[in-house]
């Protein structure tokens, strides 16, 4: 495969990976906003929805302008369809968030599980002197240390889906949920 072609491919796959990660993050956040009845999480989902639309368009343009060969057409059609379905998943997440934003009195059923009803959401900014800087989430052991679970990482105007090998950077805002008791511990860990 010629080098130029190879590079374009990597870009397409990268863009798709971001699209997929973002839509999955949106589902996680949308259900969390519902369980915890938190508008700010639902707003985060709505913002991400706009971002996904842009990502999706970029992705489609990249695929269409990649100059694929005739025998590759099927594989590229598959990619386009994968993108469309991923965008629909993001839309569905935004609809879940909309229920929260419309202020519909949440039915007790929507809390889904009783234990989670007592949980809270907190935002913690990672300061320069935090011991978790440059650590992966796996290494940082935040749930073990604080009892809080990281739902998303806000970095600049991006929102990242936390994975075990995601690295924590200075200035990251950790969006986490858990029992209120862990809130203080998380804030101390992030900015001692």
């Amino acid at each position: 495969m010629p080098q130029r072609h190879q590079k374009q491919f990597e870009e397409i796959v990268e863009r798709f990976a971001e699209l997929k990660d973002t839509s999955e993050l949106m589902i996680d956040l949308a259900y969390s906003s519902l369980l915890l009845n938190r508008k700010e999480l639902a707003e985060e989902v709505q913002k991400l929805e706009e971002y996904v639309d842009k990502l999706h368009t970029d992705f489609e343009l990249l695929v269409l302008s990649s100059g694929f060969k005739k025998e590759e057409a099927k594989g590229f059609l598959g990619l386009i369809r994968l993108g469309v379905a991923t965008e629909r998943i993001a839309d569905a997440a935004a609809e879940i968030a909309e229920v929260v934003l419309r202020g519909i009195e949440p039915h007790p059923i929507l809390k889904l599980t009783i234990e989670e009803a007592e949980e809270t959401v907190t935002y913690a900014r990672v300061a320069e002197n935090s011991p978790i800087i440059n650590k992966t989430l796996r290494e940082a052991r935040i749930p073990e240390e604080t009892g809080m679970w990281v739902l998303a990482i806000r970095r600049g105007d991006k929102c990242i889906r936390p994975k075990p090998d995601s690295k924590i950077e200075i200035g990251d805002i950790l969006i986490a949920s858990g029992y209120a008791a862990g809130e203080e511990d998380l804030k101390k860990l992030a900015s001692p």
Binding site: G78, R81, E95, V99, I104, H107, I109, L110
Partner: protein
């Protein structure tokens, strides 16, 4: 075209229905992407079957909601439930579309799976054969995560799906296990389930 199941009212609590629709739709997303990215037909078929199940559950939920709403307050509260269920149903439809890329032999360009192989864990299904050492064992005692970096995320037993099975769940002959993990661990796990490997190594 598959025959559509006739929907008959069954009294199932709304909460249970909603939770199952949510859990199934989330499982379907994982299964569908893995099916498409690694061109796995069997996984794709599972997704299509789950989609039909979610459809049935969505009908049943709708019925429960219609029965439960008696006044304006009920209606206001239950609209939210209905909206969430319909969104989860849309997620399952999107997952089915992804699976259809595989079952309709369109496929995703192979270079995509090459890249994803490196960054993403993959899902695999394995049928438990008679004689496999997994038969009769509890999931907890297998210690799969420590041994080979594999997690069993769902079990299909006859027509039922057990999502996120507990450590105490016992593995039975003919179970279909859906597992997640690194490629090497997943391969070893499939051999164990199918009875082609008879020893659990540490």
């Amino acid at each position: 075209m598959p025959r559509l199941e006739k929907i008959e009212y069954k009294p199932i609590p709304v909460r249970e229905l909603l939770l199952e629709i949510k859990n199934l739709s989330e499982l379907m997303i994982d299964l569908a992407y893995s099916a498409a990215l690694f061109n796995d037909k069997e996984l794709a078929e599972d997704v299509l079957e789950l989609e039909r199940r979610v459809d049935t559950l969505a009908y049943l939920l709708e019925m429960e909601i219609l029965i439960a709403a008696r006044d304006v307050e009920d209606a206001e509260e239950l609209t939210g439930v209905s909206e969430v269920a319909s969104a989860a149903d849309k997620i399952s439809d999107a997952a089915a579309d992804i699976a259809a890329i595989v079952t309709q032999n369109i496929g995703v360009h192979p270079i995509v799976s090459e890249v994803f192989e490196k960054v993403e864990e993959r899902l695999m299904r394995a049928k438990v054969n008679e004689g496999a050492i997994l038969v009769g064992k509890h999931i907890g005692e297998l210690d799969l995560a420590a041994r080979m970096g594999v997690d069993i995320i769902a079990i299909r037993r006859n027509k039922d799906w057990i999502i996120d099975p507990k450590e105490t769940e016992q593995i039975k002959i003919d179970d279909i296990l859906i597992a997640r993990g690194a490629p090497s661990g997943i391969k070893e796990f499939k051999e164990l389930a199918e009875g082609r490997r008879l020893k659990l190594e540490d």
